[in-house]
Symmetry: C2
Subunit: 225 residues, 2 copies
DNA sequence: TGATGTGAAGCGGTTCACAGCC
DNA sequence: GGCTGTGAACCGCTTCACATCA
């Protein structure tokens, strides 16, 4: 049964399914069961069937899912059949690191610009990406059809950066600044707080260690969870 | 009422509360209400009270919480009253970027080592952190009392890296490799998948835009959720 | 028989609403 | 009156269990 309210955890898993299917396809699999996907991803098979059926009945009872057709469907569902452009706001340590990291990868998600307000940095290049003046942000976003912004500025400027992005027509924002932001409803916001993530691990270090050694499945999120 | 099963979402929020309290304290606040914290973090005030009461009844009815005492309590609860050391496994683009990012920050969480297997990289320095041979991993971890490992190796080597970390006595792992890992129960694992996070945002780009402009609160997680 | 699609149950976290205390 | 601590209601996601179909 199709649904229209898709949660963030679901879309995150869809991306994992697609990666899994691509690998299975490369290994020559023609068909795959929800059970097989579940084992690879340490998930429950019912979960996977429930996720997939929200977009159509792609499976065949007794057979499983056709790897190539499911790949196609998921690619389209996730909007990965189109080229997407994103920019990074903030050319500090984290911003340049992310530009370097994402800039290198070769998917249909490409970094096309890196912005800063610091005159010292403007004009320099990180890999093949030039650092642009934040003054030209809105114009560049519109001219280059940039859809997503990654916010990598200090906490105190993050909300302003998001607001500028919203005004320029950006539709989704990934925030690395350690501060909770407010976004208009039509903007999709995701915050990844590298400091908090690390600090909250510290809590478990303070707990007494348990010396039993059984394996347990682990979450695939994180981010998204 | 005290509890002993603390969830990851809760510890994540504790870290946010601490940050918020530190700011409030710096601004001269002696006392703060759950409502005030809730507004800053875009959370529900009952949520905050429920979180805090798991570690003791720190508040005074009619008054709120004492900023300095709550700070102390949270710092101790999160284990941030002690120095923690962590290392990064993998000195590729992401690993060096993270070393650079975390290495610069000045908290009681410090990067003390960066590991790789590539002879070309071993011996070089990223900031003030030297790249060490993965062969010396276990020895270094034990000698330097490293408690946390950040995994930043290619997906196909991530499980092996985690296993090595577990054997060396590491208690918590933050995984940046885009692959679901299995960890022993006594190891705390958190995965941050930068590719999936970005890709799953693409789903929303494919949805029809809604042109109403009301502000809505946004998640502070993460990550982690 | 094998694997999907799905109603129902289960579970954990969030919010409400209010009693209790300052 | 103000604000905490908390039982109850709520909500959404996950898992179970099974009817259904190839």
């Amino acid at each position: 049964m199709k649904k229209d309210k898709i949660s963030e955890v679901t879309t995150n898993r869809l991306s994992l399914y697609l990666r899994c299917l691509t690998e299975a396809g490369a290994a020559g699999a023609e068909t795959i069961s929800s059970q097989a996907i579940a084992e690879r991803l340490h998930l429950n098979s019912a979960q996977i069937r429930k996720d997939l059926v929200q977009f159509g009945e792609f499976g065949r009872r007794g057979l499983g899912y056709s790897v190539p057709t499911l790949c196609e469907h998921l690619t389209r569902v996730l909007g990965l059949d189109k080229e997407h452009r994103f920019c990074i706001i903030g050319a500090g340590r984290l911003g340049t690191a992310l530009a370097d990291y994402y800039g290198f990868r070769n998917t249909n998600f490409t970094v096309t610009a890196l912005f800063d307000t610091d005159k010292q940095k403007i004009g320099k290049k990180i890999g093949h990406i030039k650092i642009l003046d934040m003054k030209n942000f809105a114009d560049t976003v519109k001219r280059d059809n940039i859809e997503v912004a990654v916010v990598a500025v200090p906490a105190e400027h993050a909300q302003a950066a998001l607001d500028l992005a919203a005004d320029a027509g950006i539709r989704a924002v990934m925030n690395f600044a350690p501060v909770p932001l407010k976004a208009p409803v039509d903007i999709r916001l995701r915050t990844v707080d590298l400091t908090t993530s690390l600090e909250s691990l510290a809590y478990f270090l303070a707990q007494p260690a348990r010396r039993d050694r059984k394996r347990k499945p682990a979450n695939g999120r994180s981010n998204n969870k």
